[in-house]
Amino acid sequence: MTFNRRLALGLGLAASLLGTSAMAQDPMRIALVAKSLGNGFFEAAARGAEEAAAELGNTEIIYTGPTSTTAEGQIEVINSLIAQRVDAIAISANDPDAVVPALQKAMQRGITVISWDSGVAPEGREMHLAPSSDALIGQTIIKLAADHLPEGGKVAVLSATSTSTNQNVWIAEMTKVMDQYPDIEVVATVYGDDLADKSYRETQGLIQTYPDLDAIIAPTSVGIVAAAQAVQDAGKVGQVNVTGLGLPSEMAGAIESGASKSFAIWNPVDLGYTAAMIAHALASDAASAEPGAEIATGRMGSVTLDDETSAAMSEPFTYDASNIDEFKSVF
């Protein structure tokens, strides 16, 4: 089935490419290069890019990518996009360095190149759009817990491994903003090592050690699922709210059972939308990619480039019972 779907996508893509090359050069053509085709996350991003194109007008989105997540496949795709003389390439790279020469060739031909989601080394792109920043993630995870604790309460953090850089930075950023939540107390940080069984056991330990625990923040996709299951099995649904970072497809059961009231992760639709907006702005010279520049991104507001010409889109998007059904089949 996946093969058929890929084949259909490929054929559709080929048809659309043939179609566009025959058409007049009039509309601005932005290529959105995915890590691989047939992945719900990137298909949702493509929907967002189409939405941006419709808003901008006279813009065409070419959604493409290799059939498997390889840098070689992406290089072929880039070369064919150069041959088609698209106006802009927005890529989520399978390898930050391997695609650089091909992208440099594209930039020499006057094509605007940006990376999004998964970045490209600075010499291979004009700017990078990260889904979020460490600071925004840190602020979001504590806000998720605090939103359901108006009277304050005790929360614990279930992380991945104690040496995991991402998680540690996010937790540090969370700690920085804790003075905004005077009634919330972080009682413990435990490590589930991104293993379902250890995360489950650590959650049981938290529930036992802190009988009046109100929320568990797990900024890791394995941990949050295991914690939700442990809370459900312990009959603590409604008392302990599990939140953090997770994927809608993996968390749908936890939202349904009530073990998790809400959680967050980037919204691929917004990400594709913002990438297309930025690519359009740069390709039409409405903005330039230099440190400190601010680029307007339609309904998402604007982004500001840092010294490495990379920018963070927004804080992670919150998923709860109201939108989980829409996204659980997406990614």
């Binding site: 104690s162 394995v222 299951q229 497809s249 993996e250």
Partner: protein, 326 residues
């Protein structure tokens, strides 16, 4: 008989286990309550079953490193099948899991038996092959709790006379193994093959076939545990039980099962697994820094093994006695 038990490895291990539970109780009251101990046993049930399977293999002077991958692959297959055909009865899925596990164990066994490849090499190979197969069949995607049927997830959690079904299954497996190892010809053959393969041949035991049987039984248990694991944690993904094979070997070693083969008991394997399981459950509640936890787990293993090595060391023959005792 009581005296021989008191001096046995199992008694020492049981003493250590009780001491450990009391130590944790002193730091976190309530740990030694019957309800919590039952929860610890339930949490350790899968480790106990795999340790018993591993014990058979180790008894025959082999080792099976592919058990955790076998567990993960069968778990993924049952989860995907359940997601695709929710109406399929759980009993059928369990039968499939055990069959699949046995087949994977038989692959290990055949390679060791017919091609005479060292078991550590065979199972190191199948460890990665089985793990890779999970990626191939699932495309790296997870099977999540909302895709599993309620019946699929309910079985290990269902309570029967105060204990979850998962615990009862483990108890049944322990009882079955006690009979198999102590009261059946095949069970004695495992010990004979490991104790002295050459002598075993002269008594009419087919060494290769016995090892094959050990791998097949261990594989079947891993398959059963595959279903139990995935349904207990309600999630199946490529890395399920990653690194668990080492826990299983550690449980056996702590339980006094000699890596050199031919030496070990069902009670030892169960106690070894319980010892490791108690440490795993105690560390989160004992208020010990997570940075120390790994070191403590590792130290417990080394101490247990050092203890076993000392107690099983044969005393040298005394040729000259000091005059005073003569």
């Amino acid at each position: 008989m009581i005296r021989s038990f008191v001096r046995s490895r199992e008694a020492i291990l049981l003493g250590a286990l009780i001491a450990l539970v009391l130590l944790v109780e002193s730091r976190f009251s309530g740990f030694a309550s019957p309800g919590n101990l039952a929860a610890v046993f339930n949490d350790t049930a899968i480790l106990i079953m795999l340790a018993l399977g591993q014990m058979l293999v180790i008894l025959t002077r082999c080792i099976d490193l592919s058990l955790a991958s076998n567990l993960a692959l069968t778990g993924m297959v049952t989860a995907m099948l359940n997601a695709a055909v929710p109406g399929l009865p759980v009993v059928a899925l369990i039968a499939l899991a055990v069959t699949l596990g046995v087949v994977m164990g038989m692959v290990n066994g055949l390679l060791v038996w017919k091609l005479d490849i060292p078991p550590i090499v065979v199972t190191l190979g199948t460890l990665t092959i089985y793990r890779g197969l999970i990626f191939l069949i699932s495309d790296g995607a997870w099977v999540n709790s909302h895709e599993m049927s309620a019946a699929y997830k309910a079985l290990p959690r269902a309570e029967l006379i105060g204990l979850p079904v998962l615990s009862w299954i483990a108890l049944a497996v322990i009882a079955g193994f006690a009979v198999l190892v102590n009261r059946s010809a095949l069970g004695r053959a495992f010990l004979a093959v490991g104790g002295n393969p050459h002598a075993a041949v002269y008594t009419g035991i087919d060494v290769g076939r016995t090892r094959f049987a050990a791998f097949a039984i261990a594989g079947g248990l891993a398959g059963l545990c595959g279903y139990l694991w995935v349904s207990r944690y309600a999630v199946a993904y490529v890395d399920v039980a990653g690194g668990f094979e080492l826990d299983v070997v550690a449980a056996c070693v702590i339980g006094g099962i000699s890596i050199a083969g031919g030496l070990g008991t069902v009670g030892g394997a169960v106690l070894g697994a319980l010892f490791l399981g108690t440490i795993k459950n105690a560390l989160p509640v004992a208020g010990i820094s997570p940075f120390w936890q790994l070191a403590i787990s590792g130290a417990a293993i080394i101490i247990a093994v050092a203890f076993n090595a000392r107690s099983s060391a044969k005393a040298g023959r005394l040729i000259l006695r000091p005059e005073s005792t003569a």
